[in-house]
Amino acid sequence: MRNRTLAGGLLGGAAIAVALAVATPVRADKPYDGVTINLLTRPGPVIAGRLEERGREFTEMTGAKVEVATVPFADLFQKVLTDWSTGTNSIDVSVLSSGWVVELYDAGLLADLSDFVAKDDKLKVDDIAPYFREFNQKVDGKTVAITVDGDFQMMYYRTDVLGELGMAPPRTWDDYLAIAKAAHGKDMNGDGEPDYGSCMFKKRNAQGYYAIMSLAAQFVQSKGTSQGIFFNTDDMTPMVNNEAWAKAFEIYKATTEFGPPDELNHDIGDTRALVLAGRCAMALDWGDIGPLSIDETSSKIKDKVGAVIMPGTTRVLDWETGKLVDCTAEICPHAIDGVNHAPFAAFGGWTGVINAKADPKVIEATYAFLSYMNQPEQSNIDVTIGWTGYNPYRISQFENVEPWVEAGFSREFAENYLKAIGDSLNSPNMAGDLRIPGTQRYQGIVLDRELARMLAGEVTIEQALQNIHEGWEEITEEFGREEQLKLYRASLGLGAS
């Protein structure tokens, strides 16, 4: 009896197995059937949300399942580095800051994607703006990352508020403070409550420290992209303890006076909520505010917002003396009407990198997914949708205004918005973000902490800058001065010193 039951069970199991095999054949048109791609990024809907949606489409097309997991922004780099360096390898691909790519590459953790890119016609690699194609995606001449987002910080202003005040959009930071002062306390959304002249996210351990770099870049860099804003390119001495960074800190602190009372505890989401609620005359942000502002379900500022390149300065750093000097044609060769602008590629954009130790089939499938995200057919739509968090990085996205109009932009604002990003991207004085090992510690720990302490009044500007100088020197020594100098120069497009 027992044998008969066993035989029956075996036969039944075999029958089910055969039935399943017949029901789910490996289809030739789904090349990655059975492959699972484990992706780690920041929490959604920004960035992660669109990856999930496109992931479902990709599964439908190729059979590869895309599992998107998220961790807070401040934990992301550490999670990826420890997962890959300890051999845990639970993550196949991460979409993270392009600034962290060099450290991951330097540790030997990234898959080389050069061959995939060379054979990929759909990627239309020449359509990717040169900065993102050559600097964001490549290290040592190899393509190790695929861009899914292009990042520049810009200045947004309320066209109606500035119109009422009879003021033009700010060209310099002095203009910015003057407008913020004039607008602060006025009711800008008709709710009877006084609103704010300036909104910036200044929370510690978030993304607030990018704003200070955007600000400092204007004063530090005047001779073109290869000058850089962080270190001396001869010996890797920090270029932070000088009048330029001091001025940036001073202005940054001064803006707090015209911001919401709890601005020091505001992360990017808090600030954007205020901007969209019509409570800010001006804001400093990445490209996201543009598409977000046209969504009438959450925005009160549709067609009331404009964007310009980051305000500049008429006084810049003399690298020899550490003092600010007046711009001249020789000192500020790229100045526009006497004003030096150094638009900062803050963060550089969200970028996909693949674990070198992943299974070759998974690497292939993962590259295909990143390529799918990047291809113009998808990305030219994604960048027009505010909540995705993706900003333009392809030439076609700047040249063709139609997708933006179709997405709900007025033609005037679409042109204004794209011009602001285009002006930044095409500037010969564009300032690149830091892309060397330890970037997260230089910026996310030392700079962020001292900036927060200065804002809270714990230290003076001079003390904060001195502490940053010492902290950066320590990190440089830890990672090796010569190696860091080589990589820093390479990130600026310079050869060996």
């Binding site: 580095l81 351990n205 709890d262 714990e458 230290v459 902290g471």
Partner: protein
Amino acid sequence: MAVPQPAARPSRVEVTASLASAAPLARGEWLDRHARWLFIAPAVVMILIFSIFPLVASLLIAFSRVRLRAGTYSMTFVGFGNFEKQLVGSEQVHFLGQLTAFSPPAWVVVIAVAALLLWWLVGYARTQLTVIGLLGRLVTAAMLMALTLMLAATLLSGGQIGTLGVTLFYVFVGCAVQFLIGLGLALLCSQITRGRAFFRVVFFLPLMITPIGIGYIFRMMADTGKGPFATLWQWAGLGGFSWSADPWAARLIIVVADSWQWIPFIFVVLLAALESVPRDLVEAGEVDGASSWQIFREITWPEIAPVAATVMLIRVIEAFKLVDLPNIMTAGGPGTATESLTLHAFFAWRSLDLGQAAAVSYLLLFVTVVLCVSFFNLVVLRRRAAMAR
């Protein structure tokens, strides 16, 4: 009738032969003989793996610079470098605070504390001197003096406190508030006869909520601009005030949230202690005409003091490890005003500066152990001894 004779004791050779022929029996005997080691072995192995090994490994890391690479890591021995960085190096301001010259009040406090500690040590040396006792008291006195100097050079002289000072604020101010309110609630609840079980459950609920949730709840409630009490704050003229931008207001809100969570723990333990106070002692006091305060001071407090000392010891140890509330509510800000030592170590660890994270953790462990062992020896044990007498 044959009288049974006791069996003759077998010779060693016979025993060996017998064992050889009866191996299972021998194994059983061996197991019996080593049973105590076998029973304790799993626990020892677990402790070695999960407590001792991490402790030793993190100690090694505290003296090293660690860098992760593909499939491996590199460790460079840096001696006391990571500790020096905290105490006299680039992290000194972060760890100890902004040290400034002593103000007159700071001098007064330093001299007073030094005199008190000297008087305490001399008093001990004159009465019950032992080498271990003296050593322990010297370590305690040195720690208290160092902390006093640190607070005198920062808080009392117009400087900023570092993460060590912030942690001490959470521990001493937070625990004192929690003890007073917890004791008060326990006393009130012990007076009532109906509904005690209900209040016990109600007061105990906050302890069951995850600290992350408490952090978000209090962050939201304290928001003067958008929170549920925004109207109330505005009515009170605090609409334009932000607690998160003011160092002391931010620290205070964190203490409030921490107290909301931990008062129930103190309340429940002290209520149990109060319920165990012999009723006849209290009634005897009442018959003798003692006031409520006299009954509390002379009867209730001595009875519950050992429990109170123990519960506070547990609470203090826990308070030294506070991390979730400042992380959620302020991310350590404004500046580093609300950053506890554990959060300091966590931030260093998150940036993969493992050496610094381990060094900060060991400094925290040192301070916690010295203060808590001192508290245990000088307060808890004395209370227990007094009760025994």
